[in-house]
Amino acid sequence: MLLIHCPYCEETLPEAEFTYAGQAHIIRPENPSGQTDDQWEEFLFIRANPKGPHYERWRHFHGCGRFFNAVRDTVSDKFLTTYKAGAPRPDLSTLLPEGQK
């Protein structure tokens, strides 16, 4: 069971309180009807699925109820950081320990 830091509660808590919500920073277009089929497929289905740092969303479901973002290494499952929804996407180079950049 993972340990997750909720950026709203400012506590590090067991995964049991959280639900995973998929890849982060996929913005729903302002005007979906203006999207091509390709663009809409991209929005709905295409995912990075990286082996390594992954920008993803979690919800503190049993806690404050907030959706927030995280960067987690999908190989070690360790969180590099978590941050509030709407906050800018952090630069990986500031997160990775030396040698892994």
Partner: protein, 417 residues
């Protein structure tokens, strides 16, 4: 290579087994191949085998980052069935079962396909409606699957608890008698031996770092830990790692990789005659020929390549098993392990050509990969050889996610109301 049979076994037994030869050589890469298959699991090795036997293409290499059969092939719960709802799925999986039934003889390698029957339990009215829908569709598709009453379920699988006071009472089940299990390692080894016999190179411990493309965009070959290897065609069959490999060819897929866990109990004398699946409680169980109860769990909620699942999921799975089979509560778990499954939005595979000329992909099997092995490999080989879809794999295109023409087995199992 020695042919396997009772006689050769006896002969070797008398000579201290000194004369068995290796089942496949540990090949080093050539400069170029007609076809390179990335991923030496059952699907990749099988595709190589059928390229050689069905299409006469033997200048083939199967390349793996680790040991052959070390991925999901060797990590799954070996359930084989074909009673899927949609015509497309039913055809593909039933084609696989047809091949499963003759595979030991075909490969001269006993993969122990065990036609012991797969029973899917219905625990609520919605399950009943959904399973009957499957059964009728299967019947009209010529696919074996029939309804059992609660009592018939108990008769077919005596350890089952059919008390109607159970939290999840058994309201009946769908039985595919033709379905069953097989020895997973033997499938990889048998295909490897069969392919190697026909000249296919199996290159292990050689990670593919990138797919290289020509100026015109078509496939040129693969970059590997052992250098560049040229190929006219590259076929990726890398399960959980497919996204990573395809990314290097600028092909982005509707895939996510999740950790999936499974476990076995200590071995006991035969007590469990068939395979039972209970989707409502998320439990899958059979008993191996060695005597272990083989139990499948669900995926963790988050994507991961760690091959390491959490404890809560295992706790739930075991609780689910003892809910349906209370007599196993004092049995002991011997070991549990994890795999990585690549999942598509409609829970059906992607099997065929890609936007890149000469690049083919076989992925997105989720938890259904093992049962499809011979069928997927056989039709994939066709597509690689002829550069066109096989009638059976034609619907499993990448385009469907654009048009919305999904093969949504997950949705068909539908949401409770």
């Amino acid at each position: 290579m020695t042919r396997f049979n009772a006689f050769s076994l006896l002969k070797n037994a008398l000579t201290g087994h000194k004369n068995w030869t290796e089942q496949w050589p540990d090949s080093q890469p050539k400069k170029e191949y007609d076809v390179i298959i990335v991923g030496a699991g059952g699907h990749g090795l099988g595709a190589a085998y059928y390229l050689a036997t069905q299409h006469g293409i033997t200048n083939v290499a199967v390349i793996d980052k680790g040991w052959l059969g070390g991925g999901n092939t060797g990590r799954n719960t070996t359930i084989i069935r074909s009673n899927y709802l949609y015509d497309e799925s039913a055809r593909l999986y039933d084609h696989a079962v047809d091949l499963w039934e003759g595979l030991s003889q075909e490969l001269n390698y006993n993969v122990m396909y065990s036609r012991r029957g797969v029973l899917m339990l219905a625990h609520n009215v919605h399950d009943v409606q959904s399973f009957k829908r499957h059964i009728h569709a299967n019947r009209l598709n010529g696919v074996d699957n029939r309804w059992l009453t609660t009592e018939e379920c108990k008769e077919y699988c005596p350890p089952l608890n059919i008390s109607q006071n159970a939290r999840y009472p058994v309201m009946g089940g769908a039985l595919q008698e033709r379905a069953g299990t097989a020895r997973h390692d033997a499938v990889a080894w048998g295909y490897a031996r069969g392919a190697a016999m026909r000249g296919v190179d199996i290159i292990q411990n050689c990670p593919v770092t990138a797919i290289r493309r020509n100026a015109d965009g078509s496939v040129a070959g693969v970059e590997t830990a052992k250098g560049f290897i040229g190929a006219k065609k590259v076929a990726v069959s890398a399960a959980g790692h497919t996204s990573v490999v395809m990314q290097t060819a600028d092909v982005r897929l509707p895939l996510e990789s999740y950790p999936l866990q499974a476990l076995v109990s200590e071995p006991v004398k035969p007590i469990f005659p068939c395979v039972v699946m209970s989707n409502a409680v998320h439990a899958y169980i059979s008993q191996s020929d060695k005597g272990e109860l083989v139990i499948g769990s669900g995926t963790d909620q988050y994507t991961s390549y760690s091959q390491r699942g959490g404890l809560p999921l295992i706790e739930h799975t075991v609780a689910a098993i003892t809910e349906v089979f209370p007599i196993f509560n004092r049995m002991r778990m011997l070991r549990k392990w994890g795999g990585i499954v690549d999942v598509t939005p409609d829970r059906s595979a992607i099997l065929g050509k890609t936007p890149v000329e000469g690049l083919y992909v076989n992925c997105g099997w989720g938890t259904g990969g093992f049962k499809a092995t011979p069928g997927a490999a056989h039709t994939f080989a066709w597509t690689i050889a002829k550069n066109e879809p096989h009638p059976i794999n034609a619907p499993f295109t990448l385009e469907r996610f654009k048009t919305g023409r999904l093969i949504d087995e997950a949705a068909a199992a539908a949401v409770a109301h």
